[in-house]
């Protein structure tokens, strides 16, 4: 019977493409058209331009010292974000889910905020906090550190925008798993650290991995915040993304597109990594 759903392995109703009713076919066509327009076509355009330009454009990018420096800076920032927010994400996930303390609900909202705050506002916030007249400015002066238009500023901005990812993923997994295994470990005599190392951590591995890939992707792609706090000063605070921006401003389209291609290619790799992790998680269940 056309359109009648059958159950797939997970027990939810599924219809085969060959047996769709006219209504279902229209819906599918609409969806495919929409995804095509919004996602596929722009991606294809980029790929076409890339193929047109040929591998030469990539070589040009790598030959440009400013571009290399931009990539290097971006990668360093990404590494810092991975380590810092990776560690923090695990710790915070545990604290948020397993501890009970005053203000936990407030923290809930606070933790999700970086996802909703515009990157330029982030940059501005750090500028105001550490710049002239800012609350922390005297401390910086005393310590001899520069935050605005300097590397530390970029670090802070990157940490801010990548902050929620590992935390959320770890928290979701912890909630889903429940506390049974940890309780069992305690009755068997394990100390808190042993419980974490032997029982909790292996169980959150995939969630953590997923969050780390998202962190990496976000750190690589961060633009607005590093632009504002860093000023995109070539050779000092110019990341890969701000390199593209500056190149566009200076009408150096080839350089801009070249770098954009590199970042786009990296994104595809991240996407595949995310997919792989999802599959591994699915297999575990």
């Amino acid at each position: 019977m056309p359109g009648a759903p059958w159950k797939n392995g997970r027990g939810c109703a599924v219809s085969d493409a060959g047996r769709l009713t006219p209504g279902q076919a229209i819906l599918l066509a609409l969806v495919l058209g929409y995804l095509g327009l919004i996602l596929v076509v722009p991606l294809a355009a980029m790929a076409i331009r890339g193929l047109e330009a040929g591998p030469g454009v990539l070589l040009e990018v790598f030959a440009d010292p400013a571009a290399r420096e931009g990539l290097r800076l971006t990668l360093i920032l990404a590494l810092i974000a991975l380590i810092g927010n990776g560690l923090f994400g695990v710790a915070a996930g545990l604290v948020l889910v397993r501890h009970r303390f005053l203000g936990r609900r407030l923290l809930d909202t606070l933790v999700d905020l970086p996802l909703a705050v515009s990157p330029v506002m982030t940059g501005l916030a750090f500028l105001l906090l550490y710049g002239r007249g800012g609350w922390l400015e005297p401390w910086l002066a005393w310590a001899g550190i520069k935050v605005g238009f300097a590397f530390p500023g970029l670090v802070l901005a990157t940490l801010f925008v990548t902050f929620p990812f590992t935390l959320r993923e770890v928290a979701y997994v912890l909630i889903e798993l429940g506390t049974d295994e940890e309780e069992a470990a305690v009755t068997l005599g394990a100390s808190p650290w042993q419980t974490f190392r032997l029982v909790t951590f292996p169980n959150i591995r995939f969630g953590l991995g997923y969050g780390l890939v998202l962190t990496l992707a976000r750190a690589l792609g961060e633009f607005g915040a590093v632009l504002v706090i860093g000023g995109a000063i070539s050779g000092q605070t110019q990341t890969a993304t701000t390199f593209i921006y500056n190149a566009l401003e200076e009408r150096q389209e080839a350089a801009a597109y070249g770098m954009a291609l590199i970042l786009a290619a990296a994104s595809v790799l991240f996407l595949l990594a995310l997919e792989w992790i999802k599959r591994q998680r699915g297999k575990e269940k």
Binding site: E181, A184, A185, T187, L188, G189, A190, S191, L198, E284
Partner: protein
Amino acid sequence: MSIRVSHLNKRFGSGAGQFVAVDDVCLEVESGELVAFLGPSGSGKSTILRIIAGLETADSGSVYFSGQAADHLHARSRGVGFVFQHYALFRHMTVAENIAFGLRVQGKARAEQQRRVHELLDLMGLAGLGERYPGQLSGGQRQRVALARALAPEPQVLLLDEPFGAVDARVREELRHWLRRLHDEVHVTSIFVTHDQEEAFSVADKVIVINRGHVEQAASPAAILDHPATEFVARFIGDANVYEGVTHGGYVAVGKLQVPADGLPDGTPVSAVLRFYDLKFWKEEQGIARVVRTMTLGDRVKVEAVIDDGPVIYSQFPRRSSLLTGIEPGCRIHIEVTLARLYPQNAAAGVTVTAA
């Protein structure tokens, strides 16, 4: 190791939504005993078990292990083996690693760990499954691994929280045999929590009936059956008919059935508990009840009848029983009450047990 619980209290929540889980509970378990905590859902039996294990803390009261107060001891230092209803096996470790866990965190040598693991795999009938992962095992196997894991560090006490609740009926019976055999071999003081009477009675030396956070009775299965201490126990244990009525002229009327109420003043409101096996039915033209249906349940037959001017009444007989001769839907029967338990519903004293 013996366990004594003294005046334990525990509340959950606060204000209007507060729920008293454990209400002034006192109980004792002798060294080497296998005891069941039996009670309906929400009766607090699991909470008491978890407090003994140290997984929860009581609001007040104490737990003593062999006479020593254990309240200050953290769960990891109590030497308690705990088996969870849903196994709680470490999903990323093999069966062998699961079982070895308790020894591993204590820092025992590898050789020692392996020896003990093999010992337990054999004991629990899991030989050859050491390298499998929990996900690859059946429910019954998983629970046996959980048992083995809890026993590996040679605990002083074994606590099981509805250990057979998550498996199906046939496997449950097998696991009960395992537990009983295990206890016979290892002799570790054990407490298991269940809501299943048959399970409690078939496995345990002593049963502690718990309802609404307090202990109703603690005795051997036979004692509980023959001498239920409270109305709850009488109603909860064994199959019974329960009726409300008021005494009059030395009897309680259940429809046309007169149940003797010796010793109770007239006008006392009572709950009458009539166990199936304390009743006799036989076919009689002038009988006071009419059979509605008979249900053949394997080796027993359950008879449902309506008492004239009264409620429905049930009883059960072995299939070959001569009492069943001629009993079929529509025929009339006589009812004899061998033993009735009457519980006054006002402030008047305790139980009245009357025989016809």
